[in-house]
């Protein structure tokens, strides 16, 4: 009795399992299940606007204390979450089996990560950030101070609450609605590793900012981080399309700063509400792949005037190339419209590199002549655009030279030679008759 019941259960489980793991798929790149690790469960309430914005967009949030021994992101080799939010700056080590390597493996397998640090950032959080190409100020007491672009406040006079408005210029990352009000930031700054080309400053500090301990005088050494080299919020898009956001401020996610009004020092504009909510919401849309995810389908090529794809081209053939590119809008794939998609006809190096023209409905096409060099070529579409996932497609195609009978016959220049031969032959025929039978 028990055995069939168990088998039935197992069958059920097996049928559910693919459903559980398939929510993050190629067809629907938006994340679904997100693990949120907190230092303190009161963050759930003090940062509830951020969480409710995620929930209202359909994310399934799983809150856990960062030292909860039951933390596991992986079970039976499958990840149970699509995204990880670490709002636990002071955690020295995670509970359960999660550690720095675990977090990095999570990202390496294409999952997304949001890390927020603050002045109490632990080595664990610093290490995770450093692995993503972001180095927080090593001085544990340093915070970002800016005496020229702070948020005017009657109660906070130490200029550590910064009104930052130097955003990354990218509609896909921050949405196409301009963020009018400055973003309030209170926390630590970081610098980007110049050798890392994946990491970008999403919000950078003003030229007058510096990273220091505001309550003690500066020693004889100038601060190690200053000016626009300080990044307040950085984003990373890895080659596998995993996206990471690293912020030096936990407070910028909080309801208090979401709701706070802001007036930047030296400016008369007073905003009812800071730009935090818009900034964080739009950025999280990007991080969790609600935006900026591309797919390319139907890569096609053919000779001009034909529709079948040939197995091989001859040099100097005229060909047509087309590819369709779609963009994920959060709920469906819409045509991606851009003027900078390029195709390469490539053998060791590109022989032809051409910008594709688009019909505005996702179809990109062009035509060109095959170079007069034979060998094994590739059609390559390497599309990298700020904020979008990169597309890298290639299709191999051989190119052959002319066959011997494909060259030009009866060249005019050779007419004298032809004439000479034939007049010779005719002369010989006549001469043979005359010579033999002349009397």
């Amino acid at each position: 009795m028990a055995a069939p019941k168990f088998a039935f259960l197992l069958l059920n489980l097996i049928s559910i399992l693919p459903l559980l793991v398939s929510s993050f798929s190629v067809d629907r790149p938006t994340d679904r299940r997100i693990l949120v690790l907190l230092d303190d469960l009161s963050l759930k309430s003090s940062h509830s606007l951020f969480f409710s914005s995620l929930k209202s967009r359909g994310f399934d949030l799983d809150f856990k204390l960062a030292d909860d021994p039951a933390i596991a992101v992986k079970r039976y080799g499958q990840y149970m979450y699509d995204g990880l939010i670490l709002l636990s700056p002071s955690t020295e080590r995670f509970g359960g089996s999660l550690d720095v390597e675990g977090v990095l493996d999570f990202v390496d397998s294409g999952h997304d990560l949001i890390v927020a640090a603050d002045a109490n950032a632990s080595d664990l959080i610093r290490n995770i950030a450093a692995e993503c190409g972001v180095d927080f100020d090593e001085d544990p007491s340093a915070v970002v101070v800016d005496h020229s672009s702070y948020a005017v406040s009657e109660t906070e006079g130490d200029h550590t609450l910064i009104a930052a408005d130097d955003f990354i210029q990218s509609d896909v990352i921050l949405g196409n609605k301009k963020i009018e009000a400055p973003v309030l930031f209170k926390g630590i700054g970081h610098s980007l590793n110049p050798a890392n080309s994946m990491v970008l400053k999403a919000l950078s500090a003003s030229p007058s900012s510096y990273s220091t301990n505001p309550s003690s005088k500066l020693s004889s050494q100038p601060p190690s981080l200053y000016g626009t080299a300080i990044s307040l919020v950085s984003v990373v898009q890895a080659r596998n399309a995993a996206r990471i956001m690293i912020s030096g401020s936990l407070d910028m996610f909080s309801n208090r700063l979401f709701r706070a009004g802001v007036q930047k020092s030296g400016s008369l504009n007073k905003y009812e509400k800071s730009g935090n909510e818009q900034f964080i919401t739009e950025l999280s849309k990007w991080i969790f792949h609600e935006r900026g995810h591309l797919k390319a389908v139907n890569l096609r090529h053919n000779k001009v005037g034909e529709s079948e794809e040939p197995s091989m081209y001859r040099i100097n053939d005229d060909l047509e190339f087309s590819v369709e590119i779609f963009e994920w809008s959060g709920s469906s794939w819409v045509p991606h419209v851009s003027k900078d998609v390029q195709v390469q006809f490539y053998m060791m190096s590109p022989y032809v590199l051409k910008t594709l023209s688009t019909n505005g409905k996702g179809l990109y096409h062009t035509s060109f002549k095959v170079p007069d060099v034979y060998g094994v070529f590739q059609f390559k579409v390497e599309y990298q655009k700020l904020g979008y996932t990169s597309l890298s497609l290639s299709k191999q195609i051989p190119v052959r030279p002319f066959k011997h009978n494909e060259y030009e016959r009866f060249i005019t220049t050779a007419f004298p030679y032809y004439g000479a031969s034939f007049s010779m032959m005719a002369g010989f025929f006549i001469f043979s008759g005359v010579y033999l039978y002349n009397k």
Binding site: S148, P207, Y351, T355, T412, T413, P416, S432, N438
Partner: protein, 691 residues
């Protein structure tokens, strides 16, 4: 006893005052707007009666009049719940709670039914939650309908059975078969016990109340403390009911204590410092983001506000950034937790510490009370206060000695105050000095803050000196936290220097000889930028001063390379330059006419040959006359023509193998017929010779 405790409290307060205490402000307008936002009913009603109660209670405490909008639907829901026999105990309790605020019209039958239902369940109750709901329901009934008999005959038994669930550390278990005890349950139990006390017809034995008071004090022993004097009740266990946040368990305890205090007329001797700490905890949460947390916060604050013998008073400063230039006044507000004005009292400024040092100046100055704004105002700043950051220490003095017993003010409150002002900058100049003699090569006056664009040039043997004076509005020296001189090379490499000072004078000398290594031997234009800023300086600035053209020696081979500069992300992406393949040029050919001309020329000898034949009178008279030889001759010449035609075909389309094969056959044929023809011709000619 009470006096001893009072002294103890004062000692503790003095001790606490030496630590930095948290500055919190009372419930404000932002709580009201958050409440309206969080408790917004969907389609005119809330999801459950519990939610309705939480919303109504929060609105009531915050003084928001919003009852009417949901009154009808909520009252209907209350009446339905009370009438229904299938309602759970919790629903009765929630319905009565909602009714306690809305005061709906209920028919007496339903009320009686509820009363008997609650009493029945009280008799059969075993878990704390059951006791809590039934007793709570009865207490609410008693308050709302005086005609219903809710008195408990067996109060002692019930009291004992609830008490049996209590632990020795003051916490409670939810039921006898659940070993985990919690602060949350303690709050529930206290509320239930307070209910029993108020419902008991023969009054409850006084000894029970004494043990209850001890339990409360024990509960306070297990309170958690933050460094800034904030106290809260934490929950160790994550029970079956899910995790209780410190906010909800602290609120539960506060509700329990308030209920006990209301039910008994005795003083509870609550530790004032911890009550103050709890109040600071609830206020320190700020504006919670969830409806339930907001309810817990506001509800607990409303109980703390009305707690007897130790009502907390909050000293807050609406502004801690005081501008000297704008002649701002330091204002202090003392209010209760919910923001209502405190009784008559005075605020004294006791001490002023310079931020970051231990030196304190004792002031002891009383602030003037401004009745219109309800603020205590420090009209003039003390003499020795200049622009800078200070810690002001305030103390609340009650005018009425009775108030000392009923209010707690948290002793001395220390507040970080920033006194800001416009800093004067004079005598700013930038000078190029000659290295050896120190003579001035080039001197430029600067206007700070203001627009400057100096153009200097220097070589590595010279020095650059920047100097300026800074003084506060009172004429004292001022040292800003940030005084940076930045030199930025065209290539993006930048160098930062701290500008040092002695007294008012700030000076920096850059000796380029010692800096060539640091500058990576990069000659060229360096933009100069000066940043001066401080938290207390109202005119902090970041200004380009101009540039200096540096002539530096060539880099030796081993010189360090400048660090790589971050690539601009906007230029990193984007389309690449197009590449078009350059095709091999076709070979050069002569003009068509030229070829045709040469064709004509090539054909000329053939026609000349024909003309020569005609001229010589060539004929075919020797052609054999007889049938057989003439046939062979014709075949022979046809064969030759065929070979020539084959050659033409070879040129046009045939390949070599077909041609050779055909040529073989034709050759054999030609050999045969040629031999016949030629031998015939030879025999004819030899006949002629012999003749």
């Amino acid at each position: 006893m009470a006096r001893d405790l009072g002294i103890l409290v004062i000692v503790v307060l003095v001790l606490a005052a030496t630590c930095q205490s948290a500055v919190v402000s009372p419930v404000s307008e932002s709580h009201r707007s958050a409440a309206l936002e969080l408790f917004s009913p969907a389609h005119g009603s809330y999801g459950s009666l519990e939610e309705t109660y939480e919303a109504l209670k929060t609105f009531k405490v915050l003084g928001i009049e919003k009852k009417h909008a949901i009154r009808t639907s909520s009252c209907a829901s209350v009446a339905d719940t009370l009438k229904s026999t299938s309602s759970a105990l919790k629903d009765f309790f929630d319905a009565l709670r909602v009714n306690s605020i809305l005061k709906c019209e209920l028919n007496s039958e339903a009320v009686r039914g509820t009363q008997s239902r609650l009493k029945d369940s009280l008799n059969g109750a075993s878990s704390l939650i059951d006791f809590y709901y039934s007793i709570g329901g009865l207490v609410l009934l008693k308050e709302q309908m005086s005609e219903v008999d809710v008195n408990l005959g067996d109060a002692d038994r019930i009291f004992r059975s609830i008490k049996a669930l209590g632990q020795s550390d003051g916490r409670w278990r939810l039921s006898s078969n659940n070993p985990e005890s919690s602060n949350n349950a303690a709050g529930i139990a206290l509320e239930a016990l307070a209910g029993v006390i108020s419902l008991a017809t023969p009054q409850i034995d006084n000894s029970w109340i004494t043990t209850l008071k001890n339990d409360i004090l024990k509960l306070f022993d297990g309170i958690e403390r933050y460094d800034d004097g904030t106290y809260y009740f934490d929950e160790k266990h994550v029970g079956a009911r899910g995790h209780q946040s410190p906010l909800s368990s602290s609120a539960s305890v506060v509700r329990g204590i308030a209920a006990v205090a209301a039910a008994t007329s005795e003083t509870l001797n609550l530790p004032g410092e911890k009550i103050m700490g709890l109040a600071k905890f609830f206020l320190g949460v700020g504006v919670p983001g969830s409806a339930q947390d907001l309810y817990h916060q506001i509800d607990a604050l409303s109980y703390l506000e009305n707690i007897r013998e130790s009502t907390p008073l909050i000293l807050s400063l609406p502004a801690t950034v005081i501008s000297v230039t704008k002649k701002d006044q330091l204002k202090v507000r003392v209010s209760t937790l919910l923001g209502s004005p405190a009784p008559t009292l005075s605020v004294r400024l006791m001490q002023i510490f310079v931020s970051g040092s231990k030196d304190a100046s004792v002031i002891d100055q009383e602030l003037k009370f401004d009745a219109v704004s309800g603020m205590h105002v420090l009209e003039t700043l003390p003499k020795n206060i200049d622009v800078g950051s200070y810690i002001f220490s305030f103390e609340v003095i009650f005018h009425n000695p009775e108030h000392k017993k009923t209010y707690v003010s948290g002793g001395r409150t220390r507040v970080l105050v920033h006194i800001t002002g416009v800093i004067k900058i004079d005598n700013a100049e930038i000078v190029i000095l000659d290295g050896d003699r120190g003579s001035v090569e080039n001197q430029k006056k600067l206007k700070l803050p203001g627009d400057n664009a100096v153009a200097l040039s220097a070589n590595h043997l010279q020095k650059l000196r920047l100097s300026f004076d800074m003084s506060t509005p009172f004429g004292n020296a001022f040292k800003p936290h940030q005084a940076f001189l930045k030199l930025r090379h065209e290539s993006g490499v930048d160098h930062i220097f701290l500008v040092g000072n002695s007294g008012k004078k700030f000076e920096i000398i850059l000796d380029f000889l010692g800096l060539v290594e640091k500058f990576f031997y990069l000659p060229g234009r360096y933009n100069i930028q000066l940043t001066v800023g401080d938290a207390d300086m109202e005119n902090s600035f970041l200004q380009p001063l101009g540039f200096v053209e540096l002539d530096l020696p060539d880099a030796p081979e081993k010189a360090t390379r400048p660090p790589p500069q971050a690539v601009d992300p906007y230029s990193r992406y984007g389309p690449k330059a197009e590449i078009t393949h350059i095709f091999r040029a076709p070979e050069k050919r002569p003009a068509k006419e030229l070829s045709l001309t040469f064709l004509g020329l090539v054909l000329v000898p053939f026609f000349g040959f024909l003309a020569g034949l005609v001229q010589l009178g060539a004929n075919l008279k020797n052609f054999p006359k007889s049938t057989v030889p003439s046939t062979f001759a014709i075949l022979f010449h046809l064969g030759i023509a065929a070979v020539l035609a084959l050659y033409t075909l070879f040129w046009l389309k045939l390949d070599l193998f077909t041609t050779l094969k055909a040529l073989g056959f034709l050759g054999m044929f030609l050999m045969f017929v040629g031999h016949k023809t030629l031998s015939h011709l030879a025999s004819t000619s030899s006949k002629l010779k012999s003749v």
